[in-house]
Amino acid sequence: MRSLLAARRGHGSPHASGPEDRPDHLIGLPFVCTGPDGRGDLAELHRARVVQCALSRVCAVCAQTLDRPLHLVGTAAEADDNAFRLPPAHAVCVDALLEPLRTGDGVVLGHGVGPTSRWSVVVTGGFDLVRPETRDGLHLFRPNAVLERRDLA
């Protein structure tokens, strides 16, 4: 919760109009990985940012207001379970999530990745946010108006 409180007090109140207005400090790092000081680690999802993206309806990558439809990126298993860990993103921002997931090794964006990993993109009109049951649990995004699913190698 403290990281949530810290994020509330700090930066990250995105109010521009689209991905092209992405703040300079987010170049190269998705918003959902950054802390209140704008710095972060590509390996981890910042819990406060996950909640902020969900409630403020902003993109996980560029922190700008989402457009319609929304794009959710995750493992094929997440798509099967209809429960994604990464907040939604713009269509043009999806590659900024997929590229490190597909080419990285170890832990990327809170996911264990490797050559055998399979990724999916689900396009949806909306989502339901599922808050974690436990203190260290994950927030999950459940698409509720699926338009398309793309499975990627």
């Binding site: 919760m1 403290r2 990281s3 949530l4 409180l5 810290a6 509330r8 007090r9 700090g10 930066h11 109140s13 995105p14 109010h15 521009a16 109009s17 209140p36 000081d37 909640v51 902020q52 409630l55 403020s56 309806r57 902003v58 207001t65 989402l66 457009d67 319609r68 439809p69 929304l70 949806t124 009109g125 909306g126 989502f127 339901d128 946010l129 808050r131 974690p132 049951e133 436990t134 203190r135 260290d136 649990g137 509720n144 108006a145 338009l147």
Partner: protein
């Protein structure tokens, strides 16, 4: 004091709290699964009604403007009717439509227009700033002192724990001004006036937000105070006054409704320590204890943006608002079953209590005694806690590394 020590639910064991959380989860899942064409028809019908009212209001004003001067009664009647219809349309648009659409309550319909990402509402605050200040800041940090800007909107002292300042003596006046100019107060809400005053706001961010507010505010002024009056020809002054009256009506109504959500007796405030690392069930409890409902007819609830079901709205902000009445029946029953307060009363009483708090807290705690029934048998703070205002980044505690290190069971054992 942790949230587990809040007296309203200290009688519950950790297992009971989790059980209550699971039952609310089950309720939520049931409503999610049953969203259907009837719900979609509700919001479509409402938008159609709202637009019809707005159109009728404008037509009535124009009729008043162009009616022969000798029919003075007709002119006045048409203009007054137009202003009333327009005020009603603005109330519906802001409260039951805009507010709820921007929560994502209707995103599941996948409608290109009725969507949280695309909706822009008929008020001065840009939708994007609202989704940050309200959806995120207010709904995530509900009633947490120093975090939730809705506690007094940065200008009113609304909790005894907040430090008193001689400037608070003017609260009744500030409150009246806020009510009259509510649209503009909300427009400035996400700017975080307190941080600007303390020179803590990032100047670039402030400039960007101000530009956005300026653009939106300018368009609102153009629409209501220049374009429509100009269309009224020689009666432009009358149309301008009617538009101002419609905006004023909307301002006063939305102010009253919003102040009834968290300031009546029974709605608790929390501190940073109380919400640290809370579970979903504890988050539910904080929402229930921090919100207050009011009762009334279905029409009253629709005109209030369903915020008479503030408790249910805070539990499930993204479920369709037309389902709150049925959800409320179950939430109230759960509160009774688990012995948790369910704060509700008539609108006049809820607002009266909020107004009393505003008036009493304009004075220091030492003068006002209890000042509010919300403390029940607990001795209220007699001295204000040190400044609960926002701290700088460097003053923030670092994140605890041992996730799950705190638990209700652990807290009980320590007690």
């Amino acid at each position: 004091m942790a949230i587990a020590d809040v007296k309203e639910y200290t009688h519950l064991s950790a297992e009971q709290v989790e059980e209550l959380g699971a039952r609310l989860d089950e309720l939520r899942a049931r409503v999610e699964a049953s969203r259907d064409a009837d719900d979609a028809a509700y919001i479509h019908r409402l938008i159609k009604t709202q637009r019809g009212l707005a159109l009728a209001g404008r037509v009535a004003m124009l009729a008043g403007a162009y009616a022969p001067k000798r029919h003075r009664r007709l002119r006045t009647g048409a203009t007054a009717t137009g202003a009333a219809l327009l005020g009603l349309a603005k109330i519906l648009e802001n409260m039951e439509i805009g507010h709820n659409v921007m929560h994502g309550q209707w995103d599941w319909m996948n409608d290109p227009e009725i969507h949280s990402s695309t909706w822009e509402w008929d008020t001065a605050q840009p939708a994007e700033q609202w989704k940050h200040s309200h959806n995120y800041v207010h709904h995530q940090f509900t009633n947490v002192l120093g975090y939730d800007n809705d506690i007094g909107y940065g200008i009113l002292r609304m909790a005894r724990e907040q430090k008193w300042h001689p400037a608070n003596l003017g609260q009744p006046v500030y409150n009246s001004l806020l009510a009259l100019l509510f649209e503009w107060g909300v427009a400035l809400h996400d700017l975080d006036v307190e941080r600007i005053r303390k020179l803590e706001k990032d100047p670039q961010e402030m400039k960007r937000q101000l530009k956005q507010i300026f653009r939106k505010g300018r368009n609102q002024i153009l629409k209501d105070y220049i374009v429509y009056p100009a269309l009224s020809g020689p009666a432009w002054r009358t149309t301008l006054k009617a538009n101002a009256a419609a905006n004023l009506t909307r301002n006063l109504w939305s102010y009253v409704i919003i102040f009834c959500g968290h300031f009546p007796d029974g709605a608790l405030h929390f501190t940073e320590e109380q919400i640290e690392d809370e579970t979903r069930a504890e988050w539910y409890l904080r929402q229930m204890l921090g919100a207050a409902n009011f009762d009334g007819s279905r029409t009253l609830h629709i005109l209030s943006g369903s915020l008479g079901y503030q408790i249910e709205h805070h539990l499930f902000p993204d479920l369709p608002s037309n389902r709150y009445p049925e959800i409320a029946v179950e939430v109230r029953a759960l509160c009774e079953e688990y012995g948790i307060p369910y704060t509700i009363g008539p609108l006049w009483k809820q607002y009266g209590q909020a107004l009393r708090t505003i008036t009493l807290l304009s004075l220091p705690n030492s003068v006002t005694g209890h000042g509010s029934e919300k403390y029940g048998e607990i001795t209220p703070p007699t001295a204000e806690v040190a400044d609960r205002g926002r701290k700088s980044d460097s003053e923030r505690p670092s994140r605890r590394s041992e996730l799950g290190g705190w638990s209700r069971a652990g807290a009980s054992a320590r007690a």
